[in-house]
Amino acid sequence: MQLPNQDFVGSERAGSAGVVAVVADGHGHSRHLRSARGSRLAVSLGCRAAQELADLIEASEIAEPAAGAEGEDADTLDSPAGRIAELVNLSLVPELVKSWREAVITDVTADPFTEAEEEKRRPGDDPVIAYGSTMLLCLVLGNWLILAQIGDGDVVCVRADGSAELPVPRDPQLDGQVTTSLCGPDPAGDFRIAVLDTRAIPLLAVLLATDGYGNAQLAEDWPSSFSKDLTWLLGQRDTRWLASQLPSWAARCASADGSADDTTVALLISPAGQAMGTQAPSDTTAVSPEADAEDEITIPADAAADDAGPGVR
């Protein structure tokens, strides 16, 4: 029996000239019977938390190098990247975890589990388990790319040379069978964070994808193939075309030919990516586009026309 799609995706402006995109994958197991709502809450609250984070960063000098700090190690806590990461850990993650849980409890209080739903729950289950979801969040703020992820799914950054960058640390708990989740016992501890300075690592694009996308790929190292293909496509097509194709890529992955799993993606293209004009490599393994998109995409509808300023788009 085909279940309704439990994924959700959204993007909003953040900070003065930034953008946030969030993808969330509601768990498919019957125990997580309201995961579609959980993923929807994760996306809206993720956007809100990222907007707050953007404001906190812009309000302070966290993102600026300290005086006399030329040449400092980019990974230390005292570096701008380190300070941003610290703020993500101390602010965005706890606020997100707290607000998601509160929103779930509010939803359950307003709409208690039905008898049929109670039968699917396990005795003693915390109500939030029914709403379980992963989350992949990408905040672009000036030259900074800030990533936060809980659970499975993939964040693939496409470098200017067409190679792939996978900045979010791997989680050894993810074995392909189970995933960490917002409904887990330690969601704050299960988040993984990455902060990139795009001046040091210029990017063409960032892909956020639920696990259905990666699971549908033939190649183990599909991020590399994807990055090469996308780099070529960026040189051949504009973002409007990409936006029109993305749903079909996702649909293909979700189909029986792919992973047969809900697949939701968000693709952010940088100004450099939009200005591409390079040749694509010959060994392309791009997924061919097909019709019947079912999943939402997150290239903001007005992205190409948006003149808000620099940053990955």
């Binding site: 404001d55 302070s60 703020l87 706890p94």
Partner: protein, 422 residues
């Protein structure tokens, strides 16, 4: 119980005073307290307490008589009232602690007390015996409880209790007037002085020097009290009469200096014109106290040395009591009719935005910055989104429960516009 007709089960003795004894009682299994008059009370007292029962408590702070009680076995009467919760301790215990509660807690206690007495007086009643023993506080929740309300009576009614000497208005000490709501205002001012300055407003060098064991110089305690609290009271910080300054080493002098000028001015009025002119024009009314306390709460700040201090934009030279330096100007939120110091723990309540008397509905809180020690953020805890426009940045929405980094900006709260200066 006389009105309810319910039986009262008497338990352990909780305390006793000059008038009667107080026992724990249960009514239908629920805990209450009952006061029984030790000696045969007058019929007028019984009628007075019955009237209080009928009237009902004017404010939740009052531990008010619920019903009269009589016994088939003993003559006389008493009354039942709610049991004072264990979270409350006496005011004397509060001021004698070595570590005082935070300024905001003390200010809240003062404000709740003022509000309670304002409600009492608005009901045409007067308390008559404000003193340490009758006022209890919960410092953790900044709450107050007022006991011994059998002293309460009509403003012009028969007097059963004249008060406690140190808190009595001068005209009552002189027996020229009976306790009333106007004399309550003097007692309230004395209490507020104890609360904020930790001393008595009229006990200074002159009162001390009048005590003497020499035969020619010796006066009775009663004579001295009549003089210092009744016929010749002089405020220890009287701006014009310096004959009765604080005793050397009295901490009241240190406390006095740390408050902004506008707050000290209220005490100056209470103990200068308020001493001489017992009418409403001379005494400080509850409304004046309330506005001063609300403004004081908006001034709570932190010095560079981490001491809790006050910052008043109209009194920027106020020195820190701890390091004696002038603290740096903190970030301020300017609103119509108020300027709020954005220090950790500060709150905006509905009155800041709507100019009403709702000082309890919190709409914004100032919290520590999650990653920058010493800095703060402002959280929207209202149900409405704000629009903030930081200097040099476009306008942004601050949804409920979201925080914003404090820097120069204008904020549209919906019902009011504010401006942050930092």
């Amino acid at each position: 119980m006389v009105r309810a007709g319910t039986a009262v089960l008497v338990g352990e003795r909780l305390g006793e005073g000059g008038q009667g004894v107080v026992h724990a009682v249960t009514i239908g299994g629920a805990p209450y307290a009952a006061k029984w008059y030790r000696y045969a009370p007058s019929g007028e007292l019984r009628r007075s307490i019955a009237a209080l029962v009928e009237r009902g408590r004017p404010h939740r702070a009052f531990i008010w008589p619920i019903d009269l009680v009589v016994s088939d076995e003993i003559s006389g009467f008493g009354y039942v009232m709610p049991r004072l919760e264990p979270r409350f301790s006496s005011f004397a215990q509060l001021v004698s602690k070595s570590e005082q509660p935070p300024f905001r807690v003390v200010i809240s206690i003062g404000r709740h007390l003022v509000t309670a007495f304002e409600a009492l007086h608005a009901a045409g009643l007067c308390y008559r015996d404000i003193s340490f023993g009758n006022l209890w506080v919960d410092a953790d929740q900044a709450d107050v409880a007022i006991i011994d309300n059998d002293n309460v009576g009509l403003d012009s009614g028969e007097v059963f209790v004249w008060g406690t000497l140190r808190f009595m208005a001068p005209e009552v000490v002189r027996r020229e007037a009976a306790p009333s709501s106007l004399t309550d205002l003097h007692s309230l001012a004395v209490f507020m002085f104890y609360l904020f300055m930790h001393g008595h407003p009229l006990e200074g060098v002159r009162t001390d020097s009048s005590y003497s064991w020499s035969p020619s110089g010796h006066h009775s305690e009663t004579d001295l009290a009549l003089r210092h609290f009744g016929t010749e009271p002089v405020f220890i910080f009287d701006p014009e009469d310096h004959s009765n300054p604080p005793r050397p080493g009295d901490p009241v002098a240190i406390w006095w200096r740390l408050y902004p000028r506008f707050f000290r001015a209220v005490f100056e009025r209470a103990f200068t014109s308020g001493l001489r002119d017992p009418t409403g024009l001379g005494r400080v009314t509850e409304g004046v106290w309330r506005r001063a306390l609300v403004r004081l709460s908006d001034c709570v700040s932190v010095c560079r040395c981490n001491a809790s201090v006050f910052y008043d934009p109209d009194d920027p030279g106020l020195r820190c009591w701890n390091c004696n330096q002038v603290p740096p100007r903190p970030p301020l939120l300017e609103l119509p009719g108020a300027t709020v110091v954005l220090s950790e723990g500060a709150t905006l309540t509905a009155h800041h935005l709507s100019r009403n008397r709702d000082y309890d509905t919190v709409v914004a809180t100032v919290e520590p910055h999650p990653a920058r020690p010493g800095e703060v953020v402002l959280r929207n805890v209202s149900k409405k989104a704000w629009t903030m426009t930081p200097e040099g940045e476009p306008a942004k929405t601050v949804e409920p429960d979201r925080r914003l980094g404090i820097r120069p900006m204008s904020i549209d709260f919906g019902t009011a516009q504010g401006k942050i200066i930092s």
